[in-house]
């Protein structure tokens, strides 16, 4: 029912805009994204191409991502799979020169998963002091902030940034953010208090500690599971010549330790730290982007060790433009060679029974070739190879295959 409501709402919204546009061919005005080096990852939410409707303060936009893949694990394949990964719609509005609203609604795999990823009001008192409230994206790592499909040369999102850290993890809350720039330096910060995780991070069907499981809780936009806010903070520093580095953290309590005044359990903490960086090498124009994160969860000693109390993982992407010219009639088209390396250790530690290390790891290498007819559109061909070991360290399951996909803002 919820999905039907959103579909209907979007349909009518776009219908109205199309009707208006038919009456006036100059109705839509494209607002391109800012490609200058004044942007930090925290700006990504507004730094998107929008279409502004006439002189109204409303701008709309969105992106679409789909792919076909043929993957095989240890000789067994599900064959060719065509997937509509996601379609995202955003609507922004300038209510005042210093008051803005932006919302982002995402449809994943058709209508299998529909989320309001972002719906926040920003009030600027000072560039260093902006109040943000509503549904906001917890800024852990850089991918969470800057996740739009058309920005990436890879069909899949990084495992560490989507399954270890919850991808596009958004919650109701409020907080502050700000930016300060001087000469070649830009500093930014974000600090929010929101609703947080719940017990599903260890009570889930993934058979491992899995922070994204909390996204399955439909009540998280109206109810905090334990009344304790989740703190998410990030600082980022960018030098226009050298690139950007960010440090972020999430700290909270995940379990319902008290209910109706009765104590159920001790408070159990979840703590996450992440470091991210990106840079573009001079002359070669090689873009390097990476992120590494650590997760610590207070899992009861008496629970199964299948669910680890420590995790770590990350990824590094290297993107090398190899051709930049008019191709197939597209001016300024770019062909990139790229490669991603990624790794996640889902369960750091040793077995109590034997002292042997707990395995439960995945690593992947993803070479890629991408074609960008314009900055907002990308066609990408990836070969994916990953190896996954179980908790005991038995022979790894090997998966490999090709993925071809497209993504574009619209």
């Amino acid at each position: 029912m919820k999905s039907q409501f959103y579909l209907t709402l979007c349909f009518w919204l776009f219908g109205v805009l199309v009707l208006l546009a038919q009456n006036d061919s100059t109705f839509f005005k494209r607002i391109t994204s800012d490609s200058s080096k004044n942007q930090l990852n925290l700006d990504a939410v507004y730094n998107r191409p929008f279409l502004q409707a006439g002189k109204t303060p409303v701008a709309v936009g969105g992106y679409v991502e789909s792919k076909v893949e043929y993957l095989q694990t240890d000789g067994v394949s599900e064959g060719y799979q065509f997937q509509m990964q996601r379609m995202t719609l955003f609507v922004s509005s300038s209510i005042h020169r210093r008051i803005k609203f932006l919302s982002e609604i995402e449809f994943e795999e058709g209508t299998k998963e529909i989320n309001i990823e972002f719906a926040s009001l920003d009030l600027q008192f000072n560039p260093m002091f902006n109040l943000r409230g509503g549904i906001l994206m917890n800024p852990i790592g850089a991918f969470n902030q800057n996740h739009d499909g058309p920005k990436w040369e890879f069909n899949d999102r990084p495992i560490a940034a989507t399954q270890m850290l919850p991808a596009t993890f958004s919650n109701v809350g409020m907080g502050l953010w700000g930016k300060y720039a001087k000469k070649n330096w830009i500093f930014g910060y974000e600090a929010y208090l929101t609703n947080g995780f719940d017990e599903q991070i260890i009570n889930n069907t993934e058979n491992k500690t899995f922070l994204p499981a909390s996204k399955l809780n439909p009540d998280r936009f109206e109810e905090n599971t334990n009344g304790r806010p989740l703190f998410t903070g990030k600082i980022a520093l960018r030098n226009r010549k050298f690139g950007e580095i960010g440090l972020s953290t999430m700290q909270g309590i995940y379990n319902k330790f008290v209910d109706d005044g009765l104590i159920l359990d001790e408070k159990r903490a979840v703590r996450v730290w992440a470091i991210d960086f990106n840079t573009t090498l001079p002359k070669l124009n090689t873009f390097i982007n990476g992120e590494w994160a650590w997760v610590a969860v207070n899992v009861p000693e008496t629970f199964t060790q299948q669910y680890g109390n420590r995790q770590s993982g990350g990824f590094i992407d290297v993107v090398q433009p190899i051709v930049r010219r008019k191709i197939f009639g597209f001016d300024n088209a770019v062909v990139n060679l790229a490669c991603r390396l990624e790794f996640v250790d889902w369960n750091i530690g040793t077995f109590k029974e034997t002292g042997d290390p707990i395995e439960d790891k995945i690593w992947a290498i993803v070479p890629a070739l991408s074609f960008r007819p314009s900055a907002q559109t990308v066609l990408r061909l990836n070969y994916r190879y990953h190896a996954q070991t179980d908790i005991l360290g038995n022979p790894a399951a090997l998966t490999g295959g090709f993925q071809f996909g497209l993504a574009s803002y619209f």
């Binding site: 240890d74 889930n204 069907t205 058979n207 629970f303 197939f328 005991l392 038995n394």
Partner: protein, 400 residues
């Protein structure tokens, strides 16, 4: 024809080649004889579909408190204990306590017979009560269970020799057990004073795969069913947390898992190694060949197979006597474990061996040397072998 058009055609051609050759450049399947999982060849389409349903329930269904896990448990899924349908490890080893002889378990009121040493959030797990003896059981491999299930009682009784009439020092006996109320006795079942022959479990105290499955759901994961409706935490009868259909699908899955395939083809060297196995009388208990009776699953009916077990209890001596037992077995008696798939054990045990009932043996040789009781003579014969013969024997066992 423009340059662009040629580039486009070339690109499309390359993509088409790439996708059409996918299967040739992707991770291949391991050799069939390196895997324990997979169905018996020859199942019908409908049987394959049912096998897959059981496979998903067994390997993919992870229980959570929302779906009935616990509150006390040992593991969160069937597959947690039997990775790749192989043997388990000390991490997944379970503990049973409270019974010292045929009169039954004296600690049922204190959580016996199985220790649930893990618990969901906010709940304290069990401990072993003071005064209770216990034994640890490492999960066995699941492969070939269907074949063992359809060996006739008559064949098992025929292999037994309670009074050692043949004078070989080996006197295998069945474990005579009472049937759970939901378990139907086999066609042509042999009974003795209301008791039937158990054949599954370390002590052969489980009658069939339905009992094994329903009990494992209940005792290992804290999942109640119509078969085992009592919650292991409260002792109360509660609503079923798994359907009859799922349990029966898992039973079917276990029945139709293939047998482990030998990893050495029949040749002179293998024959020589096998002769050492026979020479030191391993085969007196680890019977190389058994046969099934009638089975409603056609591929299991009247088949000869090579499990290297006799499904009987044998006294294994003081070193393996934990002081705990089940059914009519004595505390020193253990059911002969099948040796098929032994060489693949490391693939499910994290690259190591954890052998014997509780995983205490870290190598095949150590397992042999821990044999005692009825196997004392075989152990002595093994010790008398030349180093080369010992190596050949172990190569043979690893190839099973």
């Amino acid at each position: 024809m423009g340059k662009n058009f040629i580039y486009l055609l070339f690109t499309l051609f390359c993509c088409a080649i790439l996708f059409s050759t996918c299967e040739k450049i992707l991770p291949p399947a391991p050799a069939e004889n390196e895997l324990l999982d997979g169905p018996i060849p020859g199942l019908t389409g409908a049987e394959n579909a049912r096998f897959l349903k059981g496979d998903i329930a067994f390997n993919d269904e992870i229980f959570t408190p929302q779906t009935g896990l616990g509150p006390l448990f040992v593991a969160t899924s069937c597959g947690s204990c039997h990775a790749g349908d192989g043997k388990g490890t000390p991490f997944t080893t379970l503990t049973r306590f409270g019974q010292t002889d045929h009169t039954g378990n004296q600690f049922l009121h204190l959580g016996g017979p199985q220790l649930q040493h893990r618990a969901v959030l906010g709940v304290q797990p069990e401990g072993i009560p003071n005064g209770a003896t216990f034994s640890r059981f490492t999960p066995p491999a699941n492969t070939g269970l269907g074949f063992l299930d359809f060996v006739t009682d008559a064949d098992i009784v025929a292999m037994s020799d309670p009074d050692d009439n043949n004078g070989d020092g080996i006197s295998g006996v069945p474990n005579w057990i009472y049937l759970r109320e939901y378990v139907a006795s086999r066609a042509n079942a042999i009974a003795q004073s209301g008791k039937h022959i158990g054949r599954f479990g370390k002590k052969a105290a489980t009658y069939d795969l339905l009992q094994q499955t329903a009990t494992a759901y209940n005792q290992d994961m804290g999942i109640t069913s119509n078969f085992e409706p009592y919650d292991s935490y409260t002792g109360h009868e509660i609503d079923p947390e798994v359907s009859n259909q799922t349990i029966q699908d898992v039973v079917f899955y276990l029945q139709t898992l293939k047998v482990p395939l030998p990893r050495a083809s029949e040749n002179a060297a293998v024959t020589a190694r096998k002769q050492i196995f026979q020479k030191i009388q391993c085969a007196a208990c680890h019977r190389p060949e058994l046969k099934t009776g009638y089975s409603p699953i056609a591929v299991l009916s009247f088949k000869t197979f090579q499990p290297y077990t006799d499904l009987l209890l044998h006294d294994m001596g003081a070193a393996l006597n934990d002081g705990y037992t089940e059914g009519s077995a004595t505390t020193a008696e253990w059911r002969t474990p099948p040796l098929w798939g032994l060489g693949l054990s490391k693939n499910s045990q994290g690259g190591k061996y954890f052998l014997l009932h509780d995983g205490r043996a870290k190598s095949i040789e150590e397992a042999i040397l821990l044999h005692g009781g009825e196997a004392q003579n075989s152990k002595a014969l093994y010790q008398a072998l030349s180093p080369q013969e010992k190596q050949q024997l172990i190569q043979f066992l690893e190839s099973l």
